[in-house]
């Protein structure tokens, strides 16, 4: 006597047992509860039944094994077939996602359902806005558990694209809040770059993340540089901020040398005296800026310091760069 066998709601269903594969590799000791639920799931799937009781059954199986992708697919198709409102489903999914941080099936499921209701939703701007806000609130809750969860950030980009939130103040503010909490959160930096430099309002369609985009207003480049420079002051050895600065300069088509003075604030190399380096990334930045300007001896000195003292684990790389400089000199 299990949860389904002898239960009047499931009286009409004959469970289908798992076909045992041949050989030792295939036989698996399941719990009785899981075996029974899967037997009923196989039966309803074989009969292509899409009904409210299938939702209960799939919820049960997911609670036993959230990584079982087949059950997610069948649940989604049941919801689509019944064409029921998805509010309750979202609420339930939020709980499952919070309990299963590494599960990815749930995000596909979520997006399948959002795609399904989007045409209706987008005809009512207020409803669409409320929906996007609720998604953001849920993701904020997920970020409290793990602010670098790759699945959640992927979903965030999906929502930004779907609901065109590129110009949303709230979106930018929430990224700033996350960076305020942890200025080294590389995921948040990455999302900021996506948000600012893929905004269809002022960027060239199809411009790569690694390319200069002449369409971007100077003021936008200035704003992003100022933001990242302040962050570098806050945490000089933060790789993410320095990468961001280089990325923004490239988007804006500006040379590294335009920020030589800024990078110099982290590096003091007095003639004949002991140097004072507050950031190896600043020294690296200066080496490239100097090399760009043709000041090759200074660049070489910076690279030597990096390989011998400030980033010794990558000595081979710094030596390789010094070799390139020597090649440029000849």
């Amino acid at each position: 006597m299990g949860r389904y066998e002898g239960n009047p709601v499931w009286d009409d269903v004959v469970p289908i047992p798992q076909e045992e594969g041949e050989g030792a590799l295939a036989q698996i000791a399941y719990t009785d509860e899981y075996v029974e639920a899967m037997g009923y799931l196989r039966a309803v799937m074989a009969a292509k039944e899409h009904s409210p009781r299938v939702l209960d059954l799939t919820e049960h199986v997911i609670s036993l094994n959230a990584a079982h992708y087949t059950v997610w697919l069948y649940r989604a198709s049941t919801i689509l077939a019944l064409d029921i409102p998805i509010d309750k489903e979202l609420e339930w999914m939020n709980e499952v996602a919070l309990e299963n941080q590494k599960n990815y099936q749930i995000w596909t499921h979520r997006q399948t359902l959002i795609d399904h209701i989007f045409p209706t939703l987008s005809s009512d701007p207020a409803a669409a806005q409320a929906f996007a806000d609720a998604e953001s609130a849920f993701m904020a809750e997920m970020f409290e558990e793990d602010a670098k969860n790759y699945h959640v950030w992927g979903h965030r980009q999906y929502i930004v694209r779907k609901f065109n939130l590129f110009d949303s103040d709230a979106e930018l503010k929430s990224i700033e809040a996350l960076l305020h909490e942890d200025v080294r959160n590389n995921s948040a930096w990455s999302h900021r770059f996506f948000l600012v430099f893929s905004n269809p309002a002022y960027t060239t369609a199809g411009s790569r993340a690694t390319e200069h985009d002449p369409k971007i207003p100077d003021a936008m480049i200035d704003r992003e540089l100022a933001f990242a420079q302040a962050a570098a002051h806050e945490a000089p050895q933060n790789q993410s901020a320095w990468e961001y600065i280089r990325g923004v300069l490239r988007k804006g088509g500006r040379e590294l040398a335009t920020l030589e003075g800024f990078a110099g604030e982290f590096v003091r190399i007095p003639e004949g005296g002991e140097e004072d380096i507050r950031s190896s990334h600043a020294l690296d930045f200066l080496a490239d800026a100097w090399s760009e300007k043709g000041e090759l001896d200074k660049a070489d000195m910076a690279l030597r310091l990096l390989g011998e003292k400030y980033d010794r684990i990558r000595k081979n790389y710094w030596d390789w760069k010094r070799g390139l400089l020597r090649g440029a000199k000849v």
């Binding site: 041949e22 094994n65 079982h68 670098k148 980009q157 590389n186 770059f193 790789q239 988007k251 790389y317």
Partner: protein, 338 residues
């Protein structure tokens, strides 16, 4: 193959290792052999959705350790074929839906077992010969058609299943399997290469989709796909990518997958293999990395963990051994990064 963790635990500190750092080959072989004798444990069924991947990881590690015979070949081939569906795809275990990732693992295992002929004879799917071809029915073509059907002909990338979750992981996996099956002509290679290019980020790395954060595992799948397709020329700035990858090494010698994340043995493979593909493996401290991976093994009971002191599992055992092989560790079969 079970993904159950333990029983071994990685040594806690380097000082407990023998003075000369040794890879405990015999212990690792035994560890992988006994994995499948633990079916009565709860974790075994919770990892059922990865069964066929587990077989690949275990078998691949055994090949690198020089002991491919340690698992019964015919039994492995029979099990893999029992996971195949009528549509040509494979599920994670008998009775599971077909999915690209399991299909790829199945193809990899069959290739390792030198069982492509068996697949051609016994494989399912649309086996009918191509129009104009003189060859007869083919199970290899059945699997190839299933995989090719998962390519999005608008974006070039691959979906994992009929529901269309897309990710550069799927693109690489699909291309790798199609190349092992010698069926790359069934898909649009140029479109796939364009898609990979669009996943390149400002920091030099690659993400799971255009605009997604750079991640060492996503970097490897993009590079390995380009390598399989013979299109490494599509990497526009190898120096910047090499810099980003080499910055993944932390002071302890291990590698992380993103800035400010913890190091983990599986990145020894994803980062080091990526560096190897672009010819920059020497940009990291290889000796320190070797030492780090060896610190993560259980020298007595076998197996490798994600970091020192944690429970071992077959996933990290595979990636740790593959990393050591790449680093030229003696007595291991040399691995190809792609």
């Amino acid at each position: 193959m079970s993904l159950v963790t333990g029983p071994g635990r990685a040594s806690i500190s380097a000082s407990s290792l023998p003075t000369e750092l040794q890879l405990s080959i015999a212990a690792h072989v035994k560890y992988i052999q006994t994995l499948d004798k633990r079916k009565d444990e709860l974790e075994y069924h919770l990892t059922e959705h990865l069964r066929i991947n587990g077989i690949y990881w275990g078998l691949c590690a055994l090949h690198l350790l020089g002991h491919p015979e340690a698992l019964d070949r015919d039994q492995v081939v029979d099990f893999v074929l029992s996971c195949q569906h009528e549509n040509g795809g494979f599920g994670a275990a008998p009775g599971h839906d077909a999915h690209l990732l399991y299909t790829v693992s199945a193809v990899q295992v069959l290739a390792l077992c030198d069982a492509m002929e068996t697949l051609d004879e016994r494989g399912k799917g649309d086996r009918s010969s191509l129009p104009g071809s003189t060859s007869s029915e083919s199970g290899i073509l059945g699997v190839g058609r299933y995989l090719a059907g998962l390519q999005n002909r608008r974006t070039g990338t691959f979906a994992g299943d009929e529901w269309g979750e897309e990710d550069t992981r799927f693109l690489y996996a699909g291309m790798l399997a199609l190349s092992l099956l010698n069926k790359l002509h069934l898909v649009d290679v140029d479109l796939a290469v364009d898609h990979i290019i669009s996943c390149a980020n400002f920091d030099g790395g690659y993400g799971a989709s255009p605009g997604a954060e750079s991640h060492a595992m996503q970097v490897l799948v993009c590079l390995a796909a380009l390598s399989v397709l013979g299109r490494l020329d599509a990497v526009s700035d190898k120096e910047k990518l090499g810099v980003w990858l080499s910055e993944r090494q932390v002071d302890g010698g291990g590698l992380n997958g993103r800035p400010e994340k913890l190091e983990d043995v599986c990145y020894s493979w994803w980062v080091a293999a990526s560096l190897s593909i672009i010819g920059k493996l020497h940009w990291i401290d290889e000796e320190k990395l070797t030492r780090y991976i060896l610190e993560c093994q259980d020298p007595e009971q076998g197996g490798i963990a994600d970091r020192p002191g944690d429970m071992v599992d077959v996933f990290h055992t595979h990636f740790g051994i593959a990393g050591l092989s790449l680093l030229g560790y003696p007595d291991l079969v040399q691995v190809d990064a792609a």
